[in-house]
């Protein structure tokens, strides 16, 4: 499986302020890659660099095996899409007109409009003006717009921020469908549950560098505590070691059928985030 994105020793400075100091990672073809970090860590800066919207100070950035600046070529623009929380839709136009406009720009047959509206379940709203839609619906229209040209690589910058759970689920469904059809997804989010449930691998960006990078399961195992919580029938809760030391105690409780629940106490991605960055999620 080849790499869609390859970043080596990437640095970006704004005057004397260093947003990224030494970023190294790669994103494999077909994976959903989570890019997490506290506010101001440089996530959006990285996306802007990866989409050719921002220059960088030092390092090497390759997308689809070419220098990132090649993305400015019209044919390469068709290969990626960007979805942010700031939708960028034409308010005065209908949902359908917005999508038809992008069909023309991306050279996509107009019949795709109904197809993508079915995915985000907004077909009945297609004649409505975008200005009349809720924030969640607008975000679904933006996702539909992104689905039109089925990009090989999709950048998502906080795609579900401030969305209600129903609209969030619609977005997840659309993203999973897109990923199943082969789209590589690069996701930045503050929502740790989102990262955990969607991503194949997660990178933590902090202090201008990648601090951790692995699959969610591997990260949880790496940070797992050597203890488990046990709830007993008499209402007591005890903590035992996962090792040999407490095996006999556990066995005895099990033998007497006194155990109600056992919790392995593995950390969440949010716990790991706080541990790595030393900052609470905002």
């Amino acid at each position: 499986m080849g790499n869609v994105i390859e970043i080596e020793n990437l640095a970006k400075a704004f005057g004397n302020e260093h947003a990224l100091t030494n970023v190294n990672f790669h994103v494999k073809k077909g994976e959903i890659f989570g890019f997490l970090g506290p506010s101001g860590a440089g996530k959006t800066t990285t996306i802007k660099i990866l989409t050719g919207q921002m220059s960088y100070t030092r390092g090497s950035v390759q997308v689809f095996g070419e220098d990132v600046m090649q993305l400015k070529k019209s044919k390469n623009r068709k290969r990626f899409g960007v979805l942010t929380d700031n939708s960028g839709l034409y308010d005065k136009l209908s949902v359908e007109d917005n999508l038809l406009f992008y069909c023309e720009l991306y050279d996509v047959p107009t019949k795709k409009v109904d197809e993508v509206l079915d995915v985000v379940q907004l077909r009945e709203e297609k004649k409505k003006r975008v200005a009349k839609l809720s924030k969640g619906m607008r975000q679904r229209v933006t996702l539909a717009r992104t689905l039109l040209h089925e990009p090989a690589l999709l950048f998502l910058d906080e795609p579900t921020s401030a969305l209600d759970p129903v609209n969030t689920q619609f977005i997840y469904k659309g993203l999973r469908e897109l990923n199943e059809r082969g789209t590589t997804i690069f996701l930045t989010t503050h929502n740790m549950e989102e990262a955990d449930s969607l991503c194949d691998r997660i990178a933590f960006l902090h202090d201008g560098e990648i601090q951790l990078l692995d699959t969610p399961d591997a990260l949880k195992k790496q940070f797992a505590k050597d203890e488990m919580d046990i709830e007993l029938k008499n209402g007591n809760r005890i903590t035992l070691s996962k090792g040999k030391k407490d095996a006999q105690i556990l066995y005895n409780y099990m033998k007497k059928e006194e155990i109600v629940t056992i919790h392995s106490n593995e950390p969440t991605i949010g716990d790991i985030f706080v541990y790595v960055t030393g900052r609470e999620l905002v």
Binding site: Q53, R77, V82, N86, L89, L93, D97, F101, E104, L105
Partner: protein, 235 residues
Amino acid sequence: MNISMKRVKAIFMKDYKEFSRNMSISIVILMTPLLSLFYGKVGENTIDSYYFIFNMTFVMVATYVQSCLIAEEREKNTLRALILSPANVQEILLGKSLFTFSTTFFTMMVCIILIDYRPANISIITVAMLLSTLFYIALGTFIGLFAKSVMEASVYSFPAIGIFTVGTFIRLFSEQYPMLKIAHYLPNIQLIDIALKVEAGKGFVNVLPELGVILLWSIVAMIVTVIVYKKRMVD
């Protein structure tokens, strides 16, 4: 330089649909035809009064409307989406300018008919007006790219509206204040000079210097606009 006319047309049609649903901006194009109707009824117009209307049409339609269309794209973050699409800089600027060009052309024709302006040499005036349209559209694009919102674009357009409409009368004071002679090189005043020469029976060769000055203004405005656009593309 590859230009897809399909994408240019798509941007043109999108702008048309948006414009037709935007009363606050579209009402601006009615201003100069209404003024022309009034001037036309009064009769006995001079070149100065004709060109006061025409220059106002240029600055109100080609510049102001264009600046608002571009600024709105910036304000709503749709310009960013457009920049990230396969449409290149030429297609985006051409598509957006084509709509303003058509609107300016249409409004100007209505004004010319209503005010009953019949130039002695229609070819020269057509060329001069086409060159002027390019300048005013480029100026509007520049203002739109510079402004962060429609409100800002409206504010930034005011000096242009002043200079290219009322400012035309500066030349009347240039005998008194020689410093103002520099204003003669403004494209709006060059356009009036062309019209005066045409009415005096002069031909193409005689108006080449004025056409050259307007062309120069257009080229400079277009170059500056493309530079600003490219800067806006990359943070």
